[in-house]
Amino acid sequence: MKHTHLLTSLRCALFGAFAVTTSQVQAESIAITNATVYTVAEQGILSQATVVIDDGKIIAVYSKDEVPKSLSADTLIDAKGRILTPGFIASQNLLGLVEVGAVSATRDGSDKKADLTFDASLAFNPKSSLIAYARKGGITSNLVMPHGGDKVFTGQSFIVNLSGEFDSVISQTNAVIVSLGSSRKGSRALKLQTLANELEDAQKSLAKAEKAEAKNKKAKAKDKKEAKEPSRSQKVLYALLAGEKPLLAYADRATDILALLKLKQQYKLDLVLVGASDAVLVSDEIAKANVTVMMSAIDNLPSSFDSLHNSLANVAKLTKAGVKVIISNSGESHNINQLRFDAGVAIANGLAETTALAAITANVADTFNLNSGRIVVGKNADLVLWSNDPFEISTKVDAMWINGQAMSLKSRQDVLRERYTTDSNMPRAYTK
């Protein structure tokens, strides 16, 4: 079915024939022409650029002057100058693990018995009604962070795309989550001690195992002992010590942050600070340690004694100090589509637009080894075409691709609205 459409009307392309052809053809090629492309990469912002996608990947990014005279693609889309960005990546939520907050049977994000081996991706529901709604905010993938139990280690995060398909989970158990800082019961000190002790014990047992293995190698065949299998928890800790998995650490107060930076240095951890309300007090230390901070852009109230320095300007301040920031809508799952507005508020409070965009795309991808978050050849074709400025409330998503597939932007909310705004002389239930 390789043939080239030359479409004059984008609207027609998006809402008519185009949507139909993509649903029928798995790996069709698409060329998006005349776009203002926010690459979130070295190329910066390209005007009148063309992006070609094929087989789910970005295969070409042409600046205005580089566009070849004849473009061959199954579908050609004239963006008419509109902005094309990488799909946004949300984080720090329970998407797909909670349908209705107060309905306990729809909650799979925590379990009293959960420990650091807790893999909540097994519970992820790609058919959740939250997913289509989230796409309306330009979100194409998401880092889900379960809440675990009441232990310091609350489980492991995972990454999904928002295709709504059964193969949505991109990577399971990709990072380990710890929850530090104040709580109503007990002392924060014991949490830090527990974390430090676990790391120390793991390092010791790892060293012991290595020593035993070395000894074993030298030993004669009859004296060789079977290596002791590490426990499931130990394996996770070993991965942390090897820097194979990031440690996502919830901490707000500066003292907790500094303690974590120390542990990072001691154990060579791949540390990501989460929450980090008072990070501005130690921004230089965080920058020096090259640690990424995942935080809300709109939490500006002193919600606890750990967060007396919350401010709308914090993202901008940290960035200025050289800290890489990921903006997330903290704790929210149903309205993660508002991530772009949060980024907009950060911009209004001093953050550069390109930095804000990176904070919800490339920075997340880099931190969690995702092949997306930038418009660069070879990346997954997770793209969003916007009616205007992506951060502005008046703007909407005009088109979205996940792995090169055009996505629907209709959610259950749209269907409900249609039912109650369509005239009928029959009860509403007949309007479908």
């Binding site: 004694f305 507005f341 209004a348 109650y420």
Partner: protein, 504 residues
């Protein structure tokens, strides 16, 4: 002790003329009959002093901040009455809006050029828990829900307000000039709400909106039945909820009858025994008299419809439905009955009763004639950006067949909110004679980049984004991050002194 039927009608004129007029007429008729009958057949005796309920025992002490007459010129003005004036001026004199229009002049006003800026009425939030669920969110400050009985009409949220909640300052920086502080929604009757002026004060009374009627918080649905059902106490179901409301209104009706009889007997020259005061019933009686407005946490269409019938059964007005997620399903009914619906743009999914959210809810409600669509926050975060909350509704609606403009959407957070709170005589619109509650925005307030630059309450500047002098700070945050080293303190004092002009 009762206000006259005239004042009753005035208070409710915004909400339900028809219903209340009918009710007032009935009351007048029965009172006069009773009075005639009593004077005719009972002998007079020496009267004791009349027992009168003090309806304002915690009066406002609010005073406008120092103000000067101000003329703001060349701005885009959204008046809150559905009008937009371009390149327009507004004159604030003696705390009131004197004039709005083009090319205004004033001899003794401070003229400020606002070219490129937008001006709106002060933002009003009908649903807030600032001060009763303040920041920091610690147990010691959790004072918003008297979860000890399904009917706690006797509690008043004003007695919980911590005026040092830093969120008041944050809300002011978002242009909020008046707000209603409500009790929580655990109970069928949560208690009285109070409307405040968003001025810094170290007492609640210093913030209290003197002319605002009290609100009575009611709650439908999941919260009361969950809280009490889990304790094996009624209500544990929605039908239990309604039985609870009806039982309470029956008692209130009896209570009111007793006081009416006492009043009429006393007027007739008799010396009747005054009924025993009951704080819970005082509040409910205030509703039956039209002096206290209902603010009902009620998400679902079918429940709002029942609450309207309930109000007709007991002859009061069902007021404003808060968090009315499903208001769009009964927009006609709400408008016909004179109810306001206060809505979020998009919160949903945290409970079953919040599952049927549509982003266009407020727009659909607003599209009906005589409607009263309000956008509220119920949040110390979104109260800071109610302009953006309204913007979300407007733009999503316009993507789906509506043609709303800024001058329409601003009403949801100003004029309609004032109507819901019974304060629209004073605030909510920029019309000559209204209180000069004004917000100056750096750009179109429906932009994500919009920021309030200056906020005026009663003509006095209470916030300026670029002038530290007009940025109040809560006692709680004061001195939290002092320099510990004496050298540094001295150094900072010196720097401060050299940059601040001497007042001597």
């Amino acid at each position: 002790m009762h206000k006259t039927s005239l004042s009753r009608t005035l208070i409710f004129s915004n909400l339900a003329n028809k219903v209340i007029n009918k009710k007032s007429a009935l009351t007048l008729f029965s009172t006069s009959l009773l009075t005639l009958g009593l004077t005719a057949c009972l002998p007079n005796e020496k009267q004791d002093a009349k027992v009168v309920i003090n309806k304002n025992p915690y009066p406002s002490t609010y005073q406008a901040l120092p103000a000067q007459n101000t003329l703001l010129t060349n701005a885009t003005i959204l008046t809150g009455t559905g009008e937009r004036l371009d390149d327009a001026d507004i004159l604030l004199v003696n705390g009131k809006v004197m004039q709005v229009g083009n090319d205004l002049a004033s001899e003794n006003a401070n003229v400020i050029d606002m070219t490129g800026k937008w001006i709106t009425p002060g933002i009003i939030d009908v649903h807030s828990h600032l001060g009763v669920y303040p920041n920091p969110q610690v147990e010691s400050h959790s004072d918003g829900n008297e979860m000890t009985s399904p009917n706690t009409s006797e509690v008043w949220s004003e007695h919980s307000v911590w005026p040092q909640d830093p969120a008041f300052q944050a809300a002011r920086a978002g242009g909020v000039t008046s707000l209603q502080i409500l009790p929580g929604s655990a109970n069928l009757f949560g208690g009285r709400g109070v409307t405040l002026r968003n001025v810094p004060s170290h007492t609640m009374q210093g913030m209290k909106f003197a002319d605002a009627p009290y609100g009575l918080k009611m709650a439908c649905g999941e919260n009361p039945k969950r809280v009490y059902g889990s304790r094996k106490v009624s209500p544990s179901t929605r039908m239990g909820n309604v039985a609870g409301y009806r039982t309470a209104w029956l008692a209130a009706t009896e209570y009111k009858r007793e006081w009416d009889k006492y009043d009429s007997d006393y007027s007739a020259g008799k010396n009747p025994q005054a009924p025993t005061r009951d704080l819970e019933l005082d509040t409910l009686m205030g509703v039956l008299e039209g002096e206290i407005l209902i603010h009902n946490h009620c998400y679902k269409a079918e429940e709002m419809a029942v609450m309207i019938d309930l109000s007709n059964e007991f002859n009061y007005h069902s007021g404003t439905f808060h968090h009315a997620i499903e208001a769009y399903k009964i927009a006609d009914l709400l408008a016909a009955n004179g109810n306001c619906a206060a809505m979020w743009p998009d919160w949903w999914g945290f409970k079953m009763e919040a599952f049927d959210m549509v982003e266009e809810n407020a727009a659909i409600v607003d599209a009906v004639k005589n409607s009263c669509a309000v956008v509220h926050s119920d949040s110390s975060t979104t109260i800071q950006r109610l302009n953006q909350e309204a913007a979300k509704v407007m733009y999503r609606a316009n993507e789906n067949g509506f043609a709303l403009k800024e001058e329409d959407a601003i009403k949801w957070i100003t004029a309609n909110a004032a109507k819901s709170l019974g304060i629209s005589e004073h605030v909510g619109s920029l019309v000559a004679g209204k209180n000069a509650d004004v917000v100056v925005w750096n750009t179109n307030p429906f932009s994500v980049y919009a920021q309030a630059e200056q906020v005026f309450i009663d003509g006095a500047k209470v916030y300026d984004r670029f002038d530290d002098k007009y940025q109040a700070q809560s006692d709680f945050l004061l001195g939290q991050n002092l320099d510990n080293l004496l050298d540094k303190q001295v150094e900072n004092q010196v720097t401060k002194a050299s940059t601040t002009p001497s007042t001597k």
